[in-house]
Structures are given as structure tokens and as C-alpha cells.
């Protein structure tokens, strides 16, 4: 039982990792609620995949494994991916699902090719670079994870401050425009928050399973409540639990990727919510009949 997170909290390293993972999980889940409500559930998935070529390019140019450097690369290519989706849907008149599918495969293919090339040709430094695919909390130093945690706090604070406005704009865009709210500004804020959380969540879940951390908590919380003021904190709680499970996994099996652990844990929470909402509905129907 020694390798339980709870029993190791006296170790400051473990404490930092746990705190960072918790904050990142929470921020991703909370921001994910807004992507979910915008009916853009898949955009986080696409943006996470779009980060891959940025990470490999940052490594290729600097030969550094410092996560702050890789993060800048990820940020650059994620924003490029987002701009591409906007261009394809707004200017080129492409349907959104096609634009998302195209952007995802294009960026991911580029990134995978580059990653393979790097592993062949720069083997000395690149060991473990592929942990970006499925995430590995243990591959980040506690110091870096904490820095990501601070970014996550900033994301969460932005949401707290703008919560009511974002709720309104997402619900009824036309009404928001009518009463003169800066709708495009709020939409840009949401897009930037999604980009930022995707990038800071990458090391925890990896590009392939990032969507699980963004969307599954929101979907699970939506099943349990019809009030946004409850759904968002509840999703945040689920995300925090998933983050802790990721930290626990990396403590028990440091070489194993953390992404699948997190995705499975959050899916179990989802199934529990599904069962709860189903039972509630059955109960309501029965009491309505009685």
C-alpha cells in the first residue's frame, strides 16, 4: 500500500505532482463544459491532435525536452489548427464535421511522420518524446507540472469571472447580439481557453485521449443536472478526480502512459452518472403513475 498517492503526500514531489494533475484535470473539464454546450464537442479532440507537429518541431529546433519549450510549440500549432478550422468553415464554406476531420488527420499525420523521423535520426535526445501521444505525468518534472497548474488556475479564474456572460452567449447568441454584448469577444475567449487547456493537459493525457478529459466530465455532469451552475463545478470535480487518478497511476507505474488510466477512470464516472440518471427517470415515471 506504500505506493498509494495518499500515503506519499509527505513527499513534496508527490504533493506537487498531485496538485498539478488535479488542477489541470479540473481546468480541462470545466472548459470542456463550454465546448460541449457549443455543440463543438470534437473541437478539443482536433486541437489536441493538432498540437503534435508543434511539439515535434519545437524539439527538432531546440533539441530540448524542457516542457515549457514544447508547450510553446504545441500552442503555436494548436492555434494554427484552430485558424484552419475557422478558415475552412467560414471562408471555404466547408461543413464543420468535414473541416474537423480533415484538420485532425492532416496535423496528426504530419506530427507522426516528424516524430518517426526524429526517433530514427536524433535517437540520443528523443527517448520518451513519444510519451506525448498517450501522456505521462511522470515524464514532467514536478516544477513544470506546477507551472502548468498555475496556468490552469488562470483558466479557472477566467471562467469564474465570465461565467454568467459565457452562459448567456452560448445559450442565445442572437439575444446577446441584440442587447449589444461583445459576442465575438466572448467566443474568442472560449476558443482561447480551449486551446490553452488542451495544451496544458497534453502531458497528462496525451494528444490522443485529450478529448476524454475535456468532454467526458461535461457529458457525465450534464446527465446529473440541468443547471449550468451545478454542471460546471461537478464536471470540475470529476476532472480533478481523473487528474488524481492519473497522478496515482504514474506513481505506481512510472513507465506506463497516464492517458488511458485517466480516460478509463473518467469513463467509469460517466457510466455511474448514466446509471444514476436512468434510475432517477425510472423512479419519476413510477411516481407519476402512482
Amino acid at each position: 500500500m506504500d505506493n498509494l498517492l495518499f500515503n506519499q503526500l509527505h513527499d513534496p514531489n508527490v504533493r506537487w505532482v498531485a496538485t498539478g494533475a488535479l488542477l489541470i484535470g479540473m481546468a480541462a473539464a470545466v472548459v470542456g463544459c463550454f465546448a460541449f454546450l457549443r455543440r463543438q464537442a470534437l473541437i478539443g479532440d482536433v486541437l489536441a491532435h493538432a498540437a503534435l507537429p508543434g511539439v515535434t518541431m519545437a524539439f527538432f529546433l531546440t533539441h530540448s525536452r524542457d516542457w515549457s519549450v514544447l508547450l510553446l510549440g504545441a500552442l503555436g500549432s494548436t492555434i494554427t489548427g484552430w485558424a484552419m478550422i475557422e478558415f475552412l468553415t467560414r471562408r471555404a464554406g466547408m461543413r464543420e464535421d468535414s473541416a474537423l476531420a480533415f484538420t485532425l488527420s492532416f496535423f496528426f499525420a504530419l506530427g507522426t511522420l516528424h516524430l518517426t523521423w526524429i526517433q530514427r535520426n536524433v535517437p540520443a535526445h528523443s527517448a520518451g518524446l513519444d510519451s506525448i501521444l498517450f501522456g505521462q505525468a511522470a515524464a514532467v518534472t514536478p516544477d513544470e507540472l506546477l507551472r502548468l497548474g498555475v496556468l490552469a488556475i488562470l483558466v479557472l479564474l477566467t471562467i469564474v469571472v465570465l461565467f454568467d456572460r459565457l452562459k448567456l452567449v452560448l445559450f442565445d447568441r442572437q439575444f446577446a447580439l441584440c442587447i449589444g454584448m461583445p459576442v465575438r469577444f466572448y467566443e474568442l475567449v472560449i476558443a482561447l481557453l480551449i486551446v490553452l487547456t488542451v495544451v496544458i493537459g497534453l502531458q497528462l493525457t496525451g494528444v490522443i485521449l485529450m478529448a476524454a478529459l475535456l468532454l467526458t466530465p461535461a457529458a457525465a455532469a450534464r446527465l446529473l443536472s440541468h443547471r449550468l451552475g451545478i454542471i460546471v463545478p461537478l464536471a470540475g470535480l470529476f476532472g480533478a478526480i481523473a487528474g488524481l487518478i492519473g497522478a496515482q497511476a504514474s506513481l505506481m507505474a512510472p513507465r506506463m502512459p497516464t492517458g488511458p488510466w485517466i480516460a478509463v477512470a473518467i469513463s467509469l464516472i460517466f457510466f455511474a452518472s448514466l446509471a444514476t440518471s436512468f434510475l432517477r427517470r425510472v423512479k419519476r415515471v413510477r411516481s407519476a403513475r402512482a
Partner: protein, 244 residues
Amino acid sequence: MNPDCALSIEHLEVSYHHDPVLQVRDLCLPASQRIAILGPNGAGKSTLIKAVLGLIPACADGVRFLGQPLRQMRRRIAYVPQRSEIDWDYPITVAETVLMGRYAHLRLLQRISHEDRRIARDAMEKLGIADLANRHISALSGGQQQRCFLARAIAQQADIYLFDEPFAGVDIKTEKAIAKLFEQLSKEGKTIISVHHDLNTVESYFDYAVLLNRRLLASGPLHQTLTNHHLAQAFGGIVLKRLN
């Protein structure tokens, strides 16, 4: 530019794919009236409302509300869209929806006050949905949903109200509530501009009518506009029998 007009339009043209779907010239809708926008399907009734609110692209010249351009009047104009345009799945309650009307008067980052909550509660009571305050919006009947969005418009405390088919598919109770609301608002000096589809009820709920069929056919008090000549122009011969 007459400040007595609640809404005045010098020239407005809306096109879809270079095909003009609505053309309006020199329209003045008087303030403190209950105004129906009438016309057959596809006449451009909703298009007119959305175009003057800047919700769809349009070539517009000299569109004024009470003599002012839209930009300065936004918070004083309340708009209730068609029910089909709302995302009924969205996690929001009746009370939260009605409270949104108050955001028209809030500055950036300003919070909802007790006074705002009281105004929203009054609006819900006025429309008989106060007991539904904590319900999710999808757990309402069609008429209750309509009243919820009317309450949001009332909570906004506007001077001009634009409604898109408020009477469509609602129950008798809601129909009466809306009619009473229209009467009250116009007594308070507010202007109601509402897309309407039922010629049989125009005279009970409105004072003034605008007839459209892709262009402006007539506008004026009911007895001037609802003439056989104008109605035939708008709808063709079919409606004549029904009215007479």
C-alpha cells in the same frame, strides 16, 4: 427621420445568394401601437425583424428606432425569437432565462443585483410562470415556453418589443396572457411590433398592420390596410372569403 416613429426605414434590402427576398422603402411605424407584420409564408416577415436588428446581413439605409440608430438603442429594444430557434436542451432554468433580460443594462463585469432579481420575478409573475421558476426550459409546455421568453423581454424593460410569431402553437391561456400583455405595454406607451400569421385574430390583438410580400404593400391602421385590395395583393384571392 421622424422621432415619432418607433421604427423608421428609409431603405432596406435583403438578398439570399443575390436573389432579393425583401425590399422596404419609406416605412414609419408609429410609437405606442400594437403593430402586426402580416404576409404569406416566405414574404419576409421574420427577415424584416432580423434585418432591422442587424442579425442578418442587409443593405440598410436610415434605419432608426425612435429617431436613433440601432447602436444607441440596443438595450431599449427587446426581441423574442421564434420558439424553433431556441436550443431547448441547454441546461438552464426558467428563472435564469428570464434574468438574462437584465444583462442589457449591465456594464462589463457588473453583477446581477437584488433589484434585477426582483424585476425578473415580477416579470415571471406577470406572465403566470413564477411557480415554474426552477424548472428546466424543456420541461415546459409550448405556451409556457413562449411565456418564459416574453417574461425575459419584459424583464429587459425595453421601449420597443419585437416578437416573432408569439401566438404560434400556444394554448388558449397563453394566447390570452399575451393579448393582455400587449394591451398593458401599449398603454404604458411601449411599441409592439409582432410577426403574425392568423388574419382572423389580427383585429383583436393589434391596432396597426404592415402587409408584406417580399416588398412593402401597405402599412397603416387596420381599417386602412386590411382592405380586400391589399389582402389580395399579399395573399392572392383565397383569403377574401375567410374575412368576409
